[in-house]
Symmetry: C2
């Protein structure tokens, strides 16, 4: 049952000859969620052999070009590939205004619906749910309205231990109650606890994506204990003043958030082009939070 | 005195993992003209070490995404790099409507002017001239209004042979007339011809860019005798029916145009992703026009 994220781009705003701007694909139990869509994302999808037809939901954290300029090209390609499925885009409501003229220009041919879902930049919201996964957006603190996203499995009900059902002769009518957390009382008044009667399902796995943001501890409560945290890390500490003034984080900032939130693992990205060696970021982060990795392009990280 | 074109992308509309959509940089005597700007053009400019600050004129042949979706990213990068120089964009008048919302969205910060120059899709026009170069747009025949572009050096005046000036004692007042094509008559009535008195300058060099088009012999008159012709070649002959229905050319079509126009050399590009081996195009074209090359990405072709 896959829950993993593939990094399509780990660079920040300026283009480099060998790194792409932000884009990630999250595979949660066969659902493919695209997170941000910088220029060239569609090429990176193809390089990583992720079928265009699998992507039905796109989450755009904010409207800086390095996070959305690849969207119109991807939509155009969907159209060239005769897409029919609805496409859901979760973003600032302004995105529609920005790209609708270009969509309309190819509209005569477009066979699929594009549904824009506006994000709330004031407080966290559940923006997607199905029977297996939910997605929650939450505000970050950047120079323009920006959201992070939390992807979390829905908690499964526990499984009943069948041999105990038989042993205590538990009626089928009781099973639902026990699964939901109830105990069972036998005919002679003994209480058999929920915990005795059930096998707990695996804990729901979760991934948090913290896009462009200055150090912002308000997110800690929301992303508490996630299995994998992506956090931007545009600069290292010697650029701290510039990081603050441009509303970006340092590697140390990212690691502090990971530590405060007690996450299991941290990956860092969105590196400024001024850094040629990414291990500067890694070393700085590891001093605060050991279980850190660089978000390498083309690499897939299990949640 | 350079006159050369660097190919940034040779692919057609669908993205591939290893080829870029249309983009070319033409260097004419130190002027850098960008021709078309598909997604990823700015990355290709960086890879080919072409300074962003050198580009002041961008020519967009038509408004299919693979020819212009990289423009907004390039404009945004110009802005991030604190550009001050005016940027001239030659395109369908609709381009402004399509990307202005995105430009306005970053406008608070933009320090340079963007000047849109509408193309005429009905007849050929001189759209740029300075003391060394002129650019002429001319209609092609595609599914949307499309122009090709002819870049041509301005013909220099011939140089006077100084030793003959002294020998015939020609007054300075006569020099201008001789340079412009006139003869000189000596005191005793002898006529010394223009040709005798001058050294002819090198012939003006010229490059023609024929973007997306079905086979369209109307262009022959305009591009007659150019030193280098780029002509699209999306398909090979076995896809001729499909090529016609999508208003594209085959390699043979491109070569026929080169032959009719008596150009010195042909390069072909805009290859459909269905072809893995580009030598299929080359072999087909060479049967009609021997001096043909594939427009390889990253390669520079002298005009």
């Amino acid at each position: 049952m896959p829950f993993e994220v593939t990094i399509l781009g780990n660079s920040s705003a300026l283009p480099t000859s060998d790194r792409y701007p932000t884009g990630q694909v999250l595979n949660v139990l066969g659902r493919f969620f695209l997170i941000d869509c910088g220029e060239g994302t569609q090429v990176q999808l193809r390089r990583n052999k992720i079928g265009f037809g699998k992507i039905n939901h796109i989450f755009i954290s904010h409207l800086h070009g390095d996070h959305y300029y690849g969207l119109i090209g991807l939509i155009s390609t969907f159209n060239l590939l005769s897409r029919k499925n609805d496409l859901h885009i979760y973003s600032s409501s302004e995105l529609k205004t920005l790209i609708q003229p270009q969509i309309d220009f190819i509209k005569g041919e477009i066979q699929f619906k594009i549904l824009f879902h506006p994000l709330d930049f004031k407080k966290s919201r559940q923006i997607y749910i199905d029977n297996k996964v939910e997605v929650i957006s939450f505000p970050l603190k950047h120079s323009v309205p920006t959201c992070g996203f939390l992807f979390r499995e829905i908690k499964k009900q526990p499984n009943i231990k069948k041999e105990l059902i038989r042993y205590y002769n538990i009626p089928i009518a009781e099973i639902k109650n026990i699964k939901a957390g109830g105990n069972f009382t036998t005919e002679n008044g003994d209480i058999i606890t929920h915990e005795t009667l059930t096998i707990q399902p695996p804990l729901p796995r979760s991934y948090a994506f913290c896009s462009d943001t200055v150090f912002y501890p308000n997110v800690v409560e929301i992303i508490k204990g996630v299995d994998l945290l992506y956090h931007e890390s545009t600069f290292t500490e010697e650029m701290k003043v510039f990081a603050n003034s441009t509303f970006h984080s340092t590697a140390r900032d990212a690691a502090e958030i990971a530590k405060f939130a007690d996450v299991k693992k941290l990956i860092i990205g969105h590196f400024s082009t001024r850094y040629k060696k990414l291990n500067l970021f890694l070393n700085e982060a590891k001093q605060v939070f050991e279980n850190t990795e660089i978000a390498n392009e083309g690499e897939t990280y299990k949640v």
